[in-house]
């Protein structure tokens, strides 16, 4: 009896393990973590026509949006007393995971923040997000938003969300180190390699990056090398599965990536470094000199009270028009919203991104805004302006970890690490990613 009860006790503890993995657990409200004290907007946007019926909307978004939404929430609900908003905030990874769990249990909120590409496309493909194509046409969104934002938010043939931010990625560098070493802005890959060699000889680290759990960071360099060797047309064809990933151009790009690693152009141990640390290594000017980052580098550096005039920007010298990788953020709406709820959701987004709300607290918004005529990039955001102008002039391509589904992107991240560690050749790496693409397409 004693033996049996001990066995039952052990089985009880073991079964808790399996229960923890049970799918389709209903999602409860994501935890609210206020990161900043609420900021009161000084100018309240004018209310448009209020909906007739009472509407309650649930909104899931990131912690980093807390200040911006909190600033306008009371004003919005005062302007529209029939609309009630329940907002939840979370960090990026748990937000993404929470959305997936909610999707499988049918408990998605009314509105949720998402990224473009395959992240947002999952909801469009599975008819979970509202197809805004007709609504956009009826309400002249082509004049309301930048065309690039509409294009990047069009996933699986439908306008999958309300665009809320456009991001572009380029090379941020320390101006003082470039001046001291007599380095000019690289216009070609060879010039970039020469700059890295000069910096390395001076005892500094040329490029700060990260991989491992944050493989998307070094991927920004790898995809620019692919752009260099493949050119825009082939690169786009590879990203849309029209051409194989294990083409010669990609193998050449991975070869060059391996060369960068072997020459010591990346920070030591980058395969397990964290992406949040990568840009901060430029702050002192005595560690790393360049980082491939988005325009948020400037905002984050300002928040950390770093003098951003010490930094400059140039597009990665990938040849041709030097296209920059880009991605969109958007707010997706639940496919089951009623007409009244959809109207209320759009009213909220319009209010959040109104001219008055942005002018009141520009620090709460990610520039450039994808809406036309709302706000220019603040004059103080010099790097952001330069990046946006370069993207407008040279064009953009969808960033790799959104062009590919998560399972293919993870294989790419792993391949990047294995090539860097010398346990896989570039040919094998390209083949491994192609195999993952083939498996994904077969299962789709």
């Amino acid at each position: 009896m004693k033996k049996a009860s001990l066995i039952v006790t052990i089985l009880f503890v073991l079964s808790l393990t399996l229960a923890a993995c049970a799918p389709a657990a209903p999602a409860t409200e994501a935890p609210v973590v206020a990161t900043e004290a609420p900021v009161v907007a000084t100018d309240v946007p004018a209310a448009t026509e209020a909906p007739i019926e009472d509407v309650t909307l649930t909104v899931w978004t990131l912690n980093s949006r807390n200040a911006g939404i909190t600033a306008i929430l009371d004003g919005f609900m005062a302007a529209y007393p029939n609309i009630t908003l329940e907002v939840s905030y979370n960090d990026a990874a748990p937000h993404r995971d929470g959305l997936r769990i909610a999707a499988t249990s049918g408990t998605l909120p009314s509105i949720w923040m998402n990224w473009g590409g395959t992240l947002g496309g999952y909801y469009a493909q599975n008819n979970l997000s509202y197809d805004l194509t007709e609504y956009a046409a009826a309400n002249n969104w082509s004049a309301k938003f930048e065309q690039a934002a509409i294009d990047l938010s069009t996933l699986d043939g439908q306008l999958a969300g309300y665009p809320s931010a456009l991001s572009v990625v380029g090379v941020i560098y320390r101006k003082d180190v470039f001046e001291r070493l007599g380095i000019t802005i690289p216009e070609t890959l060879e010039e970039l390699e020469a700059a890295c060699a000069t910096i390395k000889a001076d005892g500094l680290n040329p490029i700060s990056t990260a991989s491992g759990a944050d493989g998307y960071h070094v991927m920004r360099i790898v995809e620019q090398l692919i752009e260099t060797y493949a050119g825009p047309e082939l690169h786009d064809a590879i990203n849309t599965y029209k051409e194989p990933f294990n083409s010669l151009a990609v193998v050449q790009a991975l070869d060059k990536y391996k060369e960068f690693v072997d020459n010591g152009y990346f920070n030591e141990g980058f395969v397990s470094a964290g992406a949040t640390d990568a840009p901060t290594k430029l702050y002192s000017g005595t560690d790393s000199v360049m980082v491939v980052e988005g325009q948020w580098f400037e905002t984050n550096a300002k928040k950390a009270e770093i003098d951003t005039t010490a930094f400059g920007f140039f597009p990665f010298p990938s040849g041709g028009t030097k296209r920059m990788s880009a991605f969109v953020e958007m707010y997706q709406f639940n496919a089951n919203l009623s007409d009244a709820e959809l109207d209320a959701a759009v009213k909220f987004m319009d209010y959040y991104y109104s001219k008055e709300a942005v002018a009141a607290e520009p620090a709460n918004y990610k520039f450039p805004l994808p809406m036309t005529g709302i706000a220019d990039i603040p004059e103080a955001n010099v790097i952001t302006k330069a990046m946006v102008e370069a993207a407008a002039a040279g064009g953009t391509f969808t960033i790799g970890d959104q062009a590919f589904p998560t399972e293919v992107a993870q294989v790419l991240f792993s391949v990047q690490d294995e090539i860097a560690l010398g346990t896989m050749s570039p040919v094998e790496g390209a083949a491994a990613v192609q195999e993952a693409i083939d498996t994904y397409l077969a299962n789709k």
Binding site: L14, A19, S272
Partner: protein, 289 residues
Amino acid sequence: MKKKSNFSDYMFLVPAFVIYTSIVMIPTFYSLYVSLFKWNGIAPKVFVGLKNYTDLFFSDKIFLIALKNNLIWIALTLVFTMAIAMGLALLFNKEFRGRSFFRSYFYFPYTLSIILVAIVWRRMYDPSFGFINEFLRLINLEELTNTWTANPKIALFCIFAAALWQSVGQPMILFLAGLQTLPKEVLEAAKVDGASNFRTFFSVTVPLMKETFVIVIATQIISSMKVYDIIKGMTGGGPANSTQTLATYMHAQAFLYDHLGKGTAIAVVMLLMMIAIVIPYVIYTAKSE
């Protein structure tokens, strides 16, 4: 005299039974059911039988790496965590000034959040500015510096060191509790008979603490099989999947790649492994009483 149970006794078990069934048993068997399907959580399920399992064992290289890593983690836990915890318990079972302080000191890391431990140790292992390499440089041992968690050959052991620092407090306390229940006269009798400390420990202390060992070993094996937080926080399973464990890979399959069938299959494998290791040990221990 043994009291006979009547109906009302069983009625008191009903609330616990309902909660346990709904929260544990039903999800457990549902997971088993889902593991027989190919399913992304939204589209209709497609029955594939045991294909998820055969795919894992015969064509999934990362699963085999994760399985190997879990077995290594179990071995490291049974050797190092148990030995260090027992050693500290034996030390703190003796009377000396400051004993309470040192018990708290060594137990304290166990109270910390595992993610906090992961962040702190990740920074300590940084090759450029981490404490470990900086310290080695300071004491003129630069040749011993390493990339630590960026080195796939030793990354798992680096993470284990962090986990060991964090977790040794709990088995230490369990062993200490067990030591304090030992009858003093038996230990004194062994001393009087001329047994050395070493002989007393293995021939008297360990046999008397058998039930404590059963609980500690069983819980340590179970937590070794489930190790997730510290791996996720320090390396995310990299570099190049070298630190993947069954739990991290299960999470990736189920929640990143939407392969719920494969994810739940990994969970079933974990459960069966724990049953295969823990139950025979418990039965053997119970039999030898």
